[in-house]
Amino acid sequence: MDFTFDSEQNDLREAVRGLLDRAYGDGEQRRRVTASDPGFDEKTWSRLAEMGLLGLPFAEEHGGMGAGPIEVAVVAEEIGRVLAPEPYVEVVVLAGGLVAAVGTDAQKAEVLAGIAEGTTLAAVAHAEPGTRWSPSAAAVAATQDGGSWTLTGVKEPVLNGARADVLVVSAVVEGGTALFLVRGDAAGLTRTGYRTHDGGRAASVRFDGTPAELLGTDPGDRTAQIERVLAEGRIAYAHEAIGSMDTALRTTAEYLKTRKQFGVTLNRFQALTFRAADMYVSLELARSTALWASMVVDAGGDVVAAADRARLQTSRAGRHIGKEAIQLHGGIGVTAEYTVGHHTSRLTAIDHVLGDGDWALSRLAADVDAHETVDPLGAPYTR
């Protein structure tokens, strides 16, 4: 049992922080970058690739670094700290994760290497209008004709769906949900992109007899693999949220020390400092849970359950800290020119991509009668 980062992980953090501080040291740079498509900076994306960060969790034979979940957590937290708009979790953990979990060697060699080099932007097309946070597909169907597949239906919202070079699409097949690769220039593919409230980009993606390549060789049900990758995404997002909450709290504390009203700085008002103290409590409890969840991945334990626990804790903390950060600032907190409200917006987005707190709670509640206590160091969290 050890909650400390090793020196290589600390070095990694310093390197990522240095790169992202140069890119987004002040909120103005981020506002400029997110104002136009694709919503992130292609140059920064290339630099992340040059540092090996875009291939961090992939096997070396597929162009990756073969690193573990702790390293991914370190990068995600730094992304969140400065609200870097580069879609790290979305591309590396989610899209890359699905290809790594299901793809053939050739598909991995092509797509994962492309992601790692920064030349292929892969996006997951899984969510469907009218459903929420399901591990399976319902509205997009796959049809096989001879050796080739086509897809029909609508996926939305697809994060970075308009910019993506390749889409990883879930679709209904006989007996369940399979995964497919669809190229950005495929026939019968209509992508309508738009901004999301947190400065990102999403798209409505329509498939109309669109040619698709089966991911893997077996068109069987992939729900379990999808569930697993979504869980890893929830854990990575937990770390991104921790980074964002940390900055939101530190920014708020700094503001309380400098902003004057009634002739004194705001930190003279206990009504405000106590609320900041409660934000700290929320942050540290969420941080512990996120770190633990990544260690569960590393230990080969029940990742889905650990991810639900991290999701619940960071959802509660993100809402608490996001809302209080704005309130303790006052009016400036809701302006676009100040950073703290953007943290709240991003935390709100993270809360809804892969399942919110109440969603995680209801999954955990279904299981409370099946165990007496939760032992974070025992089964099912360690093997």
Binding site: M1, T4, N267, L285, M295, G301, Q313, P376
Partner: protein
Amino acid sequence: MRLQLSPELEAFREEMRTFFTTQVPQEIRDTVAARRHLSKEQYVEAMRTLNAAGLAVPHWPVEWGGRGWTPLQMHIWREEMQLACVPEPLPFNASMIGPVIAAFGSQEQKERFLPRTANIDIWWCQGFSEPDAGSDLASLRTTAVRDGDDWVVNGQKTWTTLGQHADWIFCLVRTDPTAEKKQRGISLLVFPMDTPGVTLRPIQLIDGGHEVNEVFFEDVRVPAENLIGEENRGWDYAKFLLGNERVGIARIGSSKRLLAQAKSYAREVTVGGRPLIEDPRTADRFAELENELLALELTALRVVAHSADGKPHPASSVLKLRGSELQQDITELVVDIAGPLSLSSFADGGSEVPDWARVATPEYLNYRKVSIYGGSNEVQRTIIAGTILGL
């Protein structure tokens, strides 16, 4: 970053678990499990059982019975003890006066008091708070005036927990009323509770129990050798002692056990023919508390892993604050599970109401104390805002 305990620590955890579940008398553990008050004899027997095995005061210096364990081992020891329903070593002895005497007492005081304190041959009680000195402890007014070889003590203490069982009291007294800072003129005196001039008066609490007392001093003569450490340095010792008091105050093991018990209660009570635990709203409350408790336990593990150099991790102030809130939330859940049965607090023979439901509300009311003692939660927020956030 690694989740698993090392094989050595796994073995240590197993050793603790085995000892606590097999060597401490079942009848004592049943009393704790039933959440009934322990008798003086039960406290003493439990602590002597632990002391005989070297498990009563592992955090003391090794020459006085300590074990030289790491903070993580201490954490495991405490959690396993609580999970096994073993009463913790009397805090006034093991966590408060013992460590103070070990750190600041004279050699003679150490030899005189420490072995008897570890073995609970002396039952200690705490004379700190006063009617006008609660969170603002340094405002205390009980005086000790030097007269020949004695100190003469006058004044009043309050909230003296289990003082009715105590043999000795450790007492903060004002020895220099002229000191420029009020913290500077305080000393720590120890004396027997049967010294002439000491009067104990019970305070009845809202749970109907007798747990705390007022203690009055009228010209109580205390030999000068009973002053611990240096004269007028008592405030430093008090801060040291209160720092120890906050260690383990989160009571995570106890809360886990109570939450597990609450599940069994929620299986006993039915709603519309189904066990209450299957009610979605109730299951949500369990899941939410269980996750909060997990987050707290993980934070405790994170903090102990980082405090090896002796400096407390900043997040440790979270433990008392959140630990007390969760203890209260769980006792509240138990009252709600009991529902109308929770009214039958003082039912005796002839009642159909199960024991757990009878003690539910008194315990819930009693547990309002946990966010007040050991530095109220408002004091904890002040510490977090001031020392961590720099506000």
